[in-house]
Structure formats: C-alpha cells, structure tokens
C-alpha cells in the first residue's frame, strides 16, 4: 500500500502546487492577451507573498493578508503598466527589472519576517456538497479538500475563460492585444484596457504569492517563489493563451514540481538482476535528479513551441498578434 499512499500524497501535492501556477498563470494570460508581456511575475509573487504575511501577522486574518498580498501585487504591476503602456518602454526589460526589484525588496524587508508565526489558510472542504465530494476515492481528498485559495483559483479559471470569451470587456481586451490600432478605431480606449489587463495580472500574481506564503508554505522564507513566476510565464505559452489548457498545464507542471520534491523517495532504478541495469540506471538517476527535474516545465514548453510551429497549428490558438507592441496613435 505504500504505492497507493505515495500516489495520493503525490496527487495531493500536485493539486496544491498547481494553485500558485494557476493564479499567476491566469494573470499573465490576461496581461498577454491584451498585448503586454510581463516578465515580472516572479517579483510580483514575492511582493504578494511577503505583504500577505505582514498583513496576516498584523491583523491576525489570513483573508486580509490574502487581499493585501493581491493588492500589493497589483501595485507592483502598476510600475510595469506605466513604463510599458504610458512610456512605451521595452516590455521585456521592464518585466525583468520588476522581478529583480521584487526579489531585492522582499529579501531586504523580509529578513525580520522570516521567523514570523501566523495562522495560515486551513484545509477545508466546499460548503454543503463538500462532505460528499471528499468521499470520492483518490480524487476526493486531493481536489476537494485544501486551502480556500485552491478553490478560488479553480473558480478563477472559469471566470477568466468567461471574461475572455463571453463578455464585452474580454472581447475588447483581446482586440487591444491583437491590433490596438483597430481597437482604437472601434472606439476602445486602448490604454485603459491594457492598464486594466496588466493590473489584473498583478492582482492575480500577488494572490499567487499570498497563497504561497499563507496557504502552501505557511511561512515566509527568502525567495519563496523559487522560479515559479518564470514557470507561470512558460505555462502561458504552453497553454497557447487559453485558460482551459492553462489549468491542464498547471497540473502537469505541478506534478513535475511535486515529483521533484519527492525524487529522493522515488526509486525507479532497475534491480541488479536486470540486464539493462548498468546501462539505464545512470540515465534514470540523471532524469530524477532534482536539478534536472526542475527544468521539465521549460523543456515541455519548448517542445510545445516547436510542435505548434512544425505542425502549423498556429492560426487558431497562437499568441496575441500585438504582444510586446506598444501603441501610440500618431506613430504609424
């Protein structure tokens, strides 16, 4: 039965680990659909994580902490929005600056909070039907029991999908990401729409950070994001800018992550009696090395990028046509 409990533990960890990717990924997806690449996800997650801890310790409420963390992520994104939309600065440079800024600021101010004790999000089930859902074998305890932020993230997948495909606002956001000049001629305020998208992106990245410190880790540590912001950026590409696929990708990347954390207990090496043991065991050991496993999300993203280009399936799900393009009305 160790295998079964390992699987349940793995599934549970996967679902937990994916929430931060779902939240941050959805935010980046919205921002990119409106044409603004934000490579500052990592920085915004860190800011959200630390400010969430600070607010929770000070108020004693993890919900207030979550809200403050989200809003601080939004405020961080405002810098990016101002630089890239109003000043038309280079989006890649501004985003990387944001990540470095977030890392530096949270490392400096985070020292005194590293040992802070607080009550984070407890595991819970959904109201009313939760009790029944948890009884489902394997799936029940893994998906339907967890911190409230897990459910928030799942709800947001549907909400973002709805926003982008079923609302006027979504249509307008997509239009400024596809062709801002056309959107402008249709009477859409391109700047306002792009600001909105980038700020929502920051809000969700901040929420991802607050989830990380308040629900997933239950503690603030330096560089708590540990590259998950970058994985979220890769995830958006992997998902071909679609919320549904983003959910799938987040689980896949979350699985890589929890496998990596459990790689010590993963013993897939062939027994000495196997004729191929000498040949394959070093390969298996290499593939299960935590450092190597941490690259899997990026490798999969590269494979997806190559596959979409080779298979020419690019036309219906490809990246927003005006991604990374600044817009100004009189410069054409």
């Amino acid at each position: 039965m160790t295998d079964a409990s390992f699987l349940i533990g793995l599934a549970d960890a996967t679902v937990s680990a994916s929430t931060v990717l779902i939240l941050a990924g959805l935010g980046e997806l919205i921002s990119e659909r409106a044409g603004i690449l934000n490579l500052g996800v990592e920085g915004m997650i860190l800011v959200g994580a630390l400010s969430g801890v600070v607010a929770t310790v000070m108020t004693g409420s993890y919900w207030i902490g979550f809200a403050v963390g989200s809003i601080c992520g939004l405020l961080t994104a405002t810098i990016h929005a101002f630089l890239c939309i109003s000043l038309k600065a280079d989006q890649a440079i501004s985003g990387i600056m944001l990540t470095l800024l977030g890392t530096g600021v949270t490392t400096y101010f985070g020292q005194q909070w590293a040992s802070a004790q607080f009550t984070g999000f407890p595991d819970r089930t959904l109201p009313v039907i939760g009790g029944l859902l948890v009884e489902i074998p394997l799936l029940g305890p893994t998906v339907f029991e967890g911190p409230a932020t897990d459910f928030v993230a799942l709800g947001l997948v549907v909400a973002v999908w709805w926003l982008l495909t079923r609302t006027n606002l979504g249509l307008e956001m997509i239009s400024v990401g596809e062709d801002p000049e056309t959107a402008d001629t249709m009477g859409i305020d391109v700047f306002r729409m792009r600001y909105l998208a980038v700020l929502i992106g920051g809000l969700l990245a901040g929420a991802a950070g607050a989830h990380l410190s308040l629900a997933f880790n239950g503690i603030w540590t330096n560089n708590i994001a540990a590259g998950q912001g970058w994985i979220a950026v890769a995830l958006v590409i992997f998902a071909r800018w679609r919320p549904g696929r983003l959910l799938f990708g987040a689980y896949l990347f979350g699985l890589f992550n929890s496998l990596r954390l459990r790689s010590q207990s993963l013993d897939l090496a062939l027994g000495p009696e196997s004729p191929l043991a000498g040949l394959l065991n070093p390969v298996i050991e290499f593939l299960l090395n935590p450092a190597i496993m941490s690259m899997y999300p990026y490798i999969v993203t590269l494979v997806v990028l190559v596959a979409t280009i080779v298979l020419r399936r690019d036309d219906d799900s490809a990246q927003p046509a005006a991604l990374v393009q600044a817009y100004s009305r009189e410069a054409d």
């Binding site: 606002l169 249509l171 307008e172 239009s175 056309t182 959107a183 249709m186 009477g187 305020d189 046509a321």
Partner: protein, 570 residues
C-alpha cells in the same frame, strides 16, 4: 439618433453635410495638410484625389479623430464637431474604411463589427426587460453598467448584420472568423461595420488598391446603392478612372495643399492629372524598336509550390531575351508570384531548370542569382522589397553592399554608401527623404518606396529584371516614372519580365505577352497580335479553344513553343 434633426429656426438648411475649413496638420518636418478645405454635400460621392503623400489619408484621419489638427474647424450636419478620438467621429455618424483593413483575423465577422459597441446579453436588453421588480432591477444603471461589460449578446447584432448583408447583396458568412475571408469579403465587412453604426458619412481610403477590377466594379455598385439610400461617401483615391466614373465632385490635394474642388463632369482625365501632379502627364508611352539579344532567362519546365505547399506552377517555360520586355498577364493568384520568385532565385522550384545568361541556376542561392545580374522588384514592397526599419541608405545598397566602392571586406565606407544613396534618391526623384541615413524605408509612401526599390535594382544595370506588379497602388506620376524607367532599361539591353494586372500597362510596355492561368502559360502572343478582350478571356480560363489562334502564326518561335507546350500538357 445622436443628433437632433429638428433644426433651430435660425439655422439655414444647407445641403452641406460636412465642412472642413482651413485644416492644418504638421508632423515633424512635414506639413501634411496646409489649410485644406473640404465640403461634402448630402448624398454625393465626393472624390479626394492626390498622389501618394499628398495628405489625403492625414486629412481623413483628422476627420476620424485619429489625428488632432493644429488648426481649422470641422462642422458636421451644421454643428461644430470636436474630435478627440475615433469614438467621437463614430458618435457623430462618420464611418471609415481604412486602406489597411482594421479587422482582427482571430475574431468572427460579427465580433469584429460589434467590437466596442458593448452589446449586453439578451436578458439585459431594454426591450426584453418587461415589467415587475426584477425588470426594474435589471434596468437600473449599475446593473446595466455591469451587464454591458460582463456579458455579450451577439445574437441580435448577428441578425442585423445578416440583414444588412442581404440588403446590399454581400456574400459574407457573419459567424466565420475574418481570417477565412478573402480581401473583397473583408472589405465588405468593413463597410458593414460602418453601416451597422448607422453612419451618415462613409470614408473609403483607397478601397480599390487591394481589389481585382471585378471586385472594384462591385464595390462601386454598392456605393451607388448606399448613396441612393441617403449616405454620403468620401472616396480617397489616386486613380483618375475611378474619380471620373463614380464621383460627383472631387477635391484635389497636392503636397499637402488644397488645389481645389471641381464638379467631376466638368473636367477630363488629363485636367485632373494636371491638378494632381502639377504638370502634364503623358498617358502615351513612346516605345522605340530595339533588337533583341541573347536569352538572359531560360526557364524550362518550372514547377513550384506556394508557402502552404499547394502546387501553383506546373511545368512553365519562359524565355526572356536581352532588350525585350516580356509581359505576364493573369488574375492574381494564378502562379505569378511563384513564377516571379522562382526566376528571381528567391523560391526553389520543385522541378525544372533556370538558366540566367546561359548559366544553370535552379538550385542556386538568391545571392548567386544576384551575382549573375538578376534584379527583382517584388510584389509586396513593404514585406519583401525593403527592410522597413532600416534607413533609406541601407536599403539602397542592400544588394551591392559587398561592392568595392562601398568599402573593403571588413568595414563599410559609410561616406560613399551615403553619397550613393543620395544620388539614387535624386536620380529617381524619391520624395519624402530629408536625410538618407535617418529616414526609414517604411516611412516612405508607396510610390516613393517603389521608386527607391527600382533605383536599387536598376543601379546595378542588371541583365534580367523581374518586376512583379511594379505600379500597383502607386499614383499616376510615379506610375509614369516607373514605366519610363522600365522601358529605358529595356533599351539599354536588359531583359525585363513584367508581371502586371493592368492590361493597359502590359500592352503599352511589352514586346511579347504571355497569359498565365492556374499555373500554366495559356497564351503566348504579342500586343500587336492580340486584343485586350482575348487576353482578358484567357486570363479567366475561358480560352482553351483559342490556343489555335496563336498556333496560326508559325513565324513566332515563342508562339510555336506555346502550342507545343499546350499539346504536351494535354
């Protein structure tokens, strides 16, 4: 809808829908509009005529709220109109069909059309509210504000767009994504976009630049119907033929200045041309006889595919001799692009051989074609003819930068490169260039960019010039210039392969004429032997039986080859 039609008694009723007075718009270093007046009457098609870069598009962007004018007033429907953004123009009842379509390929026709008009979903529409408490709640401002943002009702707009499309005979699938539509259909979507917004004035910016003659004819029929329904239309163009055939009045701009407005019926084509260009324009071309030399291009059995892998050329034979212009006529998309690119060396043929001045080059790199004396004027001058973000200077030496006069093998001699570029700009009358090192190629207007490309290609004194649609979309002054240069080059012994959709151009310039249809040469003749009608029929694939007409003249080797080729294909 947005404006009261009940005029106050003091206002004198006028036939003028739009009055733009004394509009000035400057860009750094350029006066794009210099005190321009434009008055459009109700229910007329008003032409706005001018060369590329004369300021037509700028004036219309001012009228559409995209550019803020430096000076001048706009009155629409008798009232002063202040335009800070396109939405103001839309609200006033002005619609615009831009030269480069403003459509988002990913979205459907309906989505493109309703974009920005914030149609709420069905339960929140005024007429669906009914009575009762729930209705009061749903009609309250906050709920309506939320509904207009967080819901989307495409069903009713889709019905209305379908109705409009039916009314004007547009064959457009309103639920299809725009990327699946062809150019003509996309333009009809643009018109629907304006009609959907109940415009009073429709601006069309060079609408026929991208259309085939048949589609253009259809567009004009549509415009007539729109005007019959009470709309006013501004037609921006540089094509005199269009001005004469559809407009009621025409305003002419030249280098940003207002040359005047005339009733179209009172002027003839050459007068319009003079107003537009500022001098007499020759419509006749003097073509001296020359003696042809050795073949510079011999393409045999050439087949090629397009970017999607579809067969576009099947076993085509083309020969061009030194000192002749061989014209290729055909409806767009019948393999001209592939033939041009293959013989110019930028596309690999899937079969066949290409000899340039006797040298076999079928699998050679573009560089070897260039070295062998092949020059190429591609169809899409922005995409393939230049590097838009590089300076005019860089673009001018793009093919010959390795030449000794521009430096040694390591370093460029920018002094001589700049001098060379300036010389080309002067020689070819490329306008809009104040400094060859800082002006980017993409900022040149179409005609001027084409002159620059032609200058680059001809300065090398090539053995073979492949020119694909060299005069498409450029103004009469530039057309005249390009044609003269092509002839001049022919007289100097260059073999020219000229692809064009303009039959007048082909008949005026060509020594020999080939017609391409579905990737095959279906007729080989000369302008003297054939008629525009016959070529037109062949271009549309209607002349299989008439190959024998060409067969009847065995003296012409080209014709003989055509007849042979025709037989062996069957």
């Amino acid at each position: 809808m947005w404006m009261s039609y009940i005029q106050p008694p003091v206002t004198v009723m006028t036939d003028d829908l739009l009055r733009m007075e004394s509009i000035v718009k400057t860009f750094p270093g350029v006066i794009a509009n210099d005190h321009v007046d434009l008055t459009v009457r109700r229910g007329e098609i008003h032409g706005l005529l001018g060369e590329n870069g004369a300021g037509k598009s700028t004036l219309m962007k001012v009228l559409y709220g995209m550019y803020a004018p430096d000076e001048g007033t706009i009155r629409f429907d008798g009232e002063p109109l202040r335009l800070d953004r396109p939405q103001d123009a839309i609200d006033a009842g002005i619609g615009m069909v831009h030269q480069h379509f403003k459509l988002i390929p990913r979205l459907s026709v309906t989505e493109n059309i309703v974009l920005g008009s914030r149609e709420p979903a069905a339960p929140f529409r005024q007429e669906n509210l009914g009575d009762g408490l729930l209705a009061t709640l749903r009609s309250s401002d906050p709920v309506q504000a939320v509904a207009s943002r967080f819901s989307l009702g495409l069903d009713r707009p889709q019905r209305r767009i379908s109705d409009l499309a039916d009314q004007y005979g547009f064959d457009v699938d309103v639920s299809a994504p725009v990327r699946e539509l062809d150019v003509g259909q996309r333009q009809r979507v643009e018109i629907l976009k304006a009609l959907y917004r109940d415009v009073d004035l429709l601006i069309l910016d060079e609408p026929t630049a991208v259309l085939t003659p048949v589609e253009a004819e259809r567009l004009f029929e549509t415009l007539e119907r729109l005007v019959d329904d009470g709309l006013s239309v501004i037609l921006i163009t540089h094509k005199l033929k269009e001005v004469k055939s559809v407009t009621d009045r025409v305003t002419v701009l030249r280098e940003g200045e207002d040359i005047g407005t005339v009733e179209t019926a009172t002027v003839d084509r050459s007068e319009l041309a003079r107003m537009m260009v500022g001098r007499d324009v020759l419509f006749e071309i003097d073509k001296p006889d020359t003696t042809v030399g050795e073949p510079v291009l011999e393409a045999t059995g050439v087949s090629a595919i397009d970017d999607r892998g579809v067969d576009k050329l099947s076993s085509v034979d083309v020969r061009v001799d030194a000192g002749e212009i061989v014209g290729i006529a055909g409806v767009s998309g019948n393999g001209q692009k592939q033939l041009a690119e293959t013989v110019a060396g930028v596309r690999d043929p899937t079969a066949g051989t290409i000899e340039i001045s006797g040298q076999g080059l079928a699998d050679a790199s573009p560089e070897e074609f260039v070295a062998q004396g092949v020059s190429f004027v591609p169809e899409d001058r922005h995409e393939h003819g230049c590097a838009g973000d590089l300076s005019v200077m860089h673009n001018a030496v793009m093919k010959d930068f390795r030449d000794e006069q521009f430096g040694d093998s390591v370093l460029f001699d920018y002094g001589s490169v700049g001098d060379f570029a300036s010389e080309l700009v002067d020689d070819f009358d490329v306008r809009g260039v104040s400094d060859v090192t800082t002006n980017c190629a993409k900022d040149l207007s179409g005609g001027n960019l084409q002159k620059l490309i032609l200058a680059r290609e001809l300065a090398r004194d090539p053995d073979l010039l492949v020119a694909n649609q060299p005069t498409r979309g450029i103004d009469v002054g530039a057309i005249e210039f390009v044609r003269e240069r092509l002839l001049e080059q022919r007289n100097r012994g260059t073999g020219v392969l000229l692809f064009s959709e303009d039959l007048d151009e082909l008949f005026d310039l060509s020594d020999r004429l080939l017609v391409i249809y579905e990737g095959e040469i279906v007729l080989r003749t000369t302008p003297e032997e054939t008629t525009r009608e016959q070529v037109s029929v062949e271009m549309n694939g209607g002349g299989e039986a008439q190959v024998s007409v060409a067969d009847a003249d065995p003296a012409d080797t080209a014709t003989r080859r055509a007849a042979d080729g025709g037989r062996s294909d069957q």
